[in-house]
């Protein structure tokens, strides 16, 4: 969109009258002996000239508004994109372009036979069209897996076989970030095709940054980019191309009760004495759900079922929130119930990552949701017979469905670099403490309600809240209304929340008015450390 003279038919009458009055005054002063206000000059020449002048004035006003930060901030959607780009470029800020999502697709076939997937055949899912990154061939034998585009067929155990392909969205945009488990359908199914689904949450898809988004990060970009304070630290992180998609940022340090890493000084100073800051970053609205292949060891038998245990090293899923479930190897963790986690013990690993630096972490709770956390997970497999197995040594392959936010490790690595990290403090990067939300409400009146659009709108509004102490029901109502017919009404909003504190304690919230986060700084759970997370599938809409 470029700034141009507006259509003459779109001008306001007062604009034309004002322009006419100006021209008349100026022309009369210029040539008093000519009657510009009436007759030929007034009716035939002056009025058209006034229309032109009003149009030009509108153009000038658009340019002035486009170049005025105050004007743009008052109406970001109405500002010209090109003019905003020029303005923010003065502050070394560049609009993020749209990007296409990428992900891995699990293809299920019903025969153990070599199967080909053409690169030019699209896969449809979530209303989007994805293309394979290569022409893939699923091989029967591992000996035949030679090239990067060869895949090995794996038996699921129910007579079907699976292999994976990598795909890229044909259109840039955040809508391409399909949820883990989302179904995909090929335009031309390969031989023996049964079904296909997203192995994990697709990522990388982003919409072109709107003027409002761009201006929202301008304030942090205007700040000096350094580690001296919250604003400059946020600006430093946002300035990096890889972290330009930062959605929410918070930091707790000197004087903040949430900062618990004041080692050895607690007896003297009941609050953080400086030198350490915990940085909370959120780069995606929804967490990634990743399927991790793990090897579990039988550690016991309880009520006839084996208790299995596996470890998640710090690099397996950096900063992960929790393990949602464990399923048998080869199974789709999103299609089967699986086994619930019975024990989740966190630990920490400060092994040098090559930067020569590690933050001052003394216990596991301090490291939770950071890249330094590790974990030991136990679950009970009620399907595998334990006869003939040995406790302590028998092992078995499983798949763990892990939930985490992206880029926690990447930001930590960046801030660990010798050229970036502060001389007088350490920065520990964490994923925010999650408050998983569900909501239900009733929609009355209106026809043709698009429930999925309502769910998406509500989830998006909640996920983009950032760090704040409460989630009001009115926000849910307002967000729902943006996707509803004008005559529809929203009522009976019910909200629930579940906070998973770093120490593993779950706190349950419920309200029909507003969810209020606990104020428990000693547990590192406050509005400065915790974010609301809402999956669209957890938005329940009742049509009345």
């Amino acid at each position: 969109m470029s700034v141009d003279v507006p259509e003459f038919s779109d001008l306001d009458q007062t604009q034309v009258d004002s322009a006419r009055a100006l021209l008349l005054a100026r022309l009369t002063a210029f040539r008093p002996q000519v009657d510009f206000g009436r007759g030929v000059l007034g009716d035939v020449l002056l009025t058209p000239a006034a229309v032109c002048l009003a149009g030009v004035r509108g153009l000038v006003a658009s340019f002035q508004n486009a170049a005025s930060l105050a004007q743009i901030l008052s109406d970001p959607a109405g500002a010209d994109d090109d003019a905003v780009d020029l303005l923010v470029s003065n502050y070394k800020v560049t609009r993020r372009p749209a990007a296409a999502a990428t992900g891995t697709v699990v293809v299920v076939v019903d025969r153990l036979a070599q199967t080909s997937v053409a690169q030019n055949v699209a896969w449809q899912g979530g209303g989007r069209s994805f293309l394979p990154d290569a022409a893939y061939t699923a091989r029967v034998s591992a000996d035949d897996v030679v090239t990067d585009s060869d895949r090995l067929l794996s038996a699921v155990g129910d007579g079907t076989y699976v292999f994976t392909i990598n795909v890229t969205d044909g259109t840039a945009g955040a809508a391409g970030n399909l949820a883990a488990g989302a179904a995909l359908t090929p335009d031309a199914p390969p031989a023996n095709f049964v079904r296909a689904y997203a192995a994990a949450t697709f990522s990388g898809g982003q919409d072109a940054e709107t003027n409002a988004d761009l201006l929202a990060r301008l304030s942090s970009s205007l700040a000096a980019r350094g580690v001296a304070n919250r604003l400059s630290l946020e600006g430093l992180i946002r300035a990096q191309d890889d972290f330009a998609g930062l959605l929410a940022f918070s930091a707790v340090g000197y004087g903040d009760p949430e900062q618990r890493r004041y080692h050895g000084l607690a007896a003297l100073f009941p609050v953080a004495a400086g030198g350490r800051a915990d940085v909370y970053v959120r780069f995606s609205e929804l967490p990634l759900q990743e399927s991790l292949a793990v090897t579990a060891t039988l550690v016991g038998v309880q009520d006839g079922a084996g208790v299995w245990q596996f470890g998640l090293g710090r690099d397996a899923a950096p900063g992960f929130w929790d393990v949602l479930k464990v399923v048998q190897s080869g199974q789709d963790p999103l299609a089967v119930t699986g086994y619930a986690v019975s024990s989740d013990v966190r630990n920490f690993d400060l092994t040098d990552d090559g930067s020569g630096f590690s933050p001052d972490v003394e216990n596991a709770v301090e490291a939770v949701y950071s890249k330094y956390q590790s974990a030991v997970i136990q679950f009970q497999d009620t399907d595998t017979a334990t006869g003939g197995l040995t406790v302590g040594s028998s092992q078995r392959a499983y798949v763990a469905l892990v939930r985490r936010l992206p880029l926690v490790k990447d930001v930590q690595d960046y801030l660990n670099a010798s050229t970036v990290r502060p001389h007088a403090a350490d920065l520990l990067v964490k994923a925010p403490v999650p408050c998983d939300v569900t909501c239900h409400f009733t929609v009355r009146g209106g026809s043709g309600v698009d429930v999925s659009a309502v769910q998406e709108a509500v989830a998006r509004a909640v996920n983009l809240l950032g760090f704040r102490a409460d989630l009001p029901a009115s926000l849910v109502s307002d967000a729902a209304r943006t996707a509803l017919p004008s005559e529809a009404a929203v009522d009976s909003v019910a909200l629930t929340g579940r906070v998973r504190a770093p120490n593993g304690v779950l706190t349950h919230l419920a309200s029909s008015d507003r969810l209020v986060l606990p104020d428990a700084p000693e547990a590192q759970v406050t509005y400065r450390t915790t974010v609301f997370v809402l999956d669209p599938s957890d938005v329940t809409v009742t049509l009345a």
Binding site: Q13, V16, D17, Q33, V34, G39, V40
Partner: protein, 158 residues
């Protein structure tokens, strides 16, 4: 009648739009021409300036000007619609439109305007209705009492 600007020193003038102003009621029909063969760019003042104002507004169809929707009258709209079957039709339409035009002209005049340029009266002295063309014999009288007469051709749908 249109003359050079020097003839109107001390007066405010308008650009002469109407070609064929002879001052005679039996003269050739007027033509609307800002740039005419044989001469243009002349100025008018006095009763002819008033007459020109009236004619411009009379020949503007009401609502046809995007940002001056109240300018004009319905006379030419009716003439193009084939509603003039006889002289009585013409006289009736003229009477109604003349009221509208008079109101508009008076609204844009001030006490500082010379009386010979201000609205006094406009009279339809006669009509000649022929297939395709209607001729109006008009007499203009300014507030100062100066008069001018002319024939105005009006296209009509027969």
């Amino acid at each position: 009648m249109a003359q050079d600007l020097a003839a109107y020193e001390g007066r405010s003038v308008d650009l002469a739009l109407l070609q064929g102003l002879t001052g005679a009621a039996s003269g050739p029909p007027l033509a609307l021409d800002l740039a005419a063969d044989g001469g243009s760019g002349e100025a008018v003042a006095g009763v002819w300036k008033f007459a020109q104002r009236w004619l411009l507004r009379f020949q503007t169809e009401l609502g046809s000007k995007r940002y001056s929707p109240d300018d004009g009258c319905a006379f030419f709209t009716r003439s193009r619609s084939g509603l003039f079957a006889n002289d009585a039709d013409v006289a009736g339409a003229f009477g109604l439109s003349a009221i509208d035009v008079a109101r508009q002209l008076r609204a844009e005049e001030t006490d500082d305007d010379p009386d010979d340029e201000r609205y006094g009266s406009v009279t339809l002295q006669g009509t000649l209705l022929t297939p395709g063309v209607l001729r109006l014999d008009l007499k203009f009288v300014s507030r100062a009492g100066d008069s001018a007469e002319l024939l105005l051709p009006v296209p009509v749908l027969v």
